[in-house]
């Protein structure tokens, strides 16, 4: 989108979440293949933060705190799933011939494994969509409430192990 200053315009390029996929890499080199986690109902990317360092002293101007940026950090990605306990992408056993051969999310959590993950967003007119890659491990796997009013869901968190922001669109 071009410079929009002082114009009125439709925000072309807005993204809708339906069709998005959360994928796990198989670790192959040099070309890694990715396979989608099944039953994903929502994905919340991790917060991107910068620590605040206060450098106020007794003679700070205007009686106002002084701040400076500290280290950046990338918070955990979280996603909600339709819990499919025997699915290869979610289970302990795993299956198939792709990223989940050695086990699904439960196995990855048990093994404290670090993987390449990526979110693929559908974009109109773009067959490949937008890819949001990160590397991390599963910091939480929580099956949800077992009750009568809903299917059993699950919540999973993925903690990035390093900065990924340079790869963002």
């Amino acid at each position: 989108m071009a410079d929009v200053t002082d114009t009125y315009y439709a925000a072309e390029g807005a993204v809708h979440g339906y069709g998005a996929q959360l994928q796990v890499g198989d670790g192959a080199s040099p070309t890694e293949a990715f396979q989608s986690i099944a039953g994903v109902s929502s994905i919340t990317p991790g917060e991107m933060t910068t620590a605040d360092i206060v450098r106020t002293h007794l003679r700070s101007p205007d009686a106002h705190h002084e701040h400076m940026p500290g280290l950046r950090d990338s918070g955990a990605f979280s996603c909600n799933l339709v819990w499919l306990p025997e699915d290869e992408s979610q289970s302990n056993v795993g299956g198939g011939s792709g990223s989940f051969t050695g086990g699904g999310l439960v196995a990855m959590w048990r093994g404290r494994e670090t993987h390449n993950f990526r979110i693929v967003l559908p974009i109109p007119g773009s067959p490949d969509g937008i890819v949001w890659p990160f590397r991390g491990y599963i910091s939480q796997f929580q099956p949800g409430e077992i009750g009568v009013d809903d299917k059993i869901n699950a919540a999973v968190s993925f903690m990035p192990t390093e900065a990924y922001d340079a790869d963002l669109p």
Partner: protein
Amino acid sequence: MTIAPSIVARLEAVQAVTNLVGDRIYQGVLPQDGTFPAVLVRRIGEVIPLHLRGSSGVFKERIQVDSVSDSSEPIGEAQSIDSAVFGDGSGSSLVGFTGELDAYHVYCVEPAGAREAYDGEELRQYKVMRDVFVTWALLPGSPS
């Protein structure tokens, strides 16, 4: 601007629907003395989120699809048509469809409810009225 004409086109491309109603898939107005069974598509609501200087570019319409029968077994026929309209929920027909339709990119077609009614006085038509939410954007370069 409504995506309803493109929903008509989508249903016209689904053989399971046309096997039951032929080309009698209408937008907005159902011919009162026409041939049945038939399908009627119309917009009944929309949400257009805005930012402070225009539209967000993503539109959401509530589309009602009526499956109408006046046969001697109107309930079963209308429900069969509705099942064909619904599809497998993964885009084989309408619900779950995602992709390009005419000048639009359809992000998703979500089920929004269904109800049934019978006009026993004059028309003797049985209807299954199904609502879907259609979320879409204009394809790049399409006239708005």
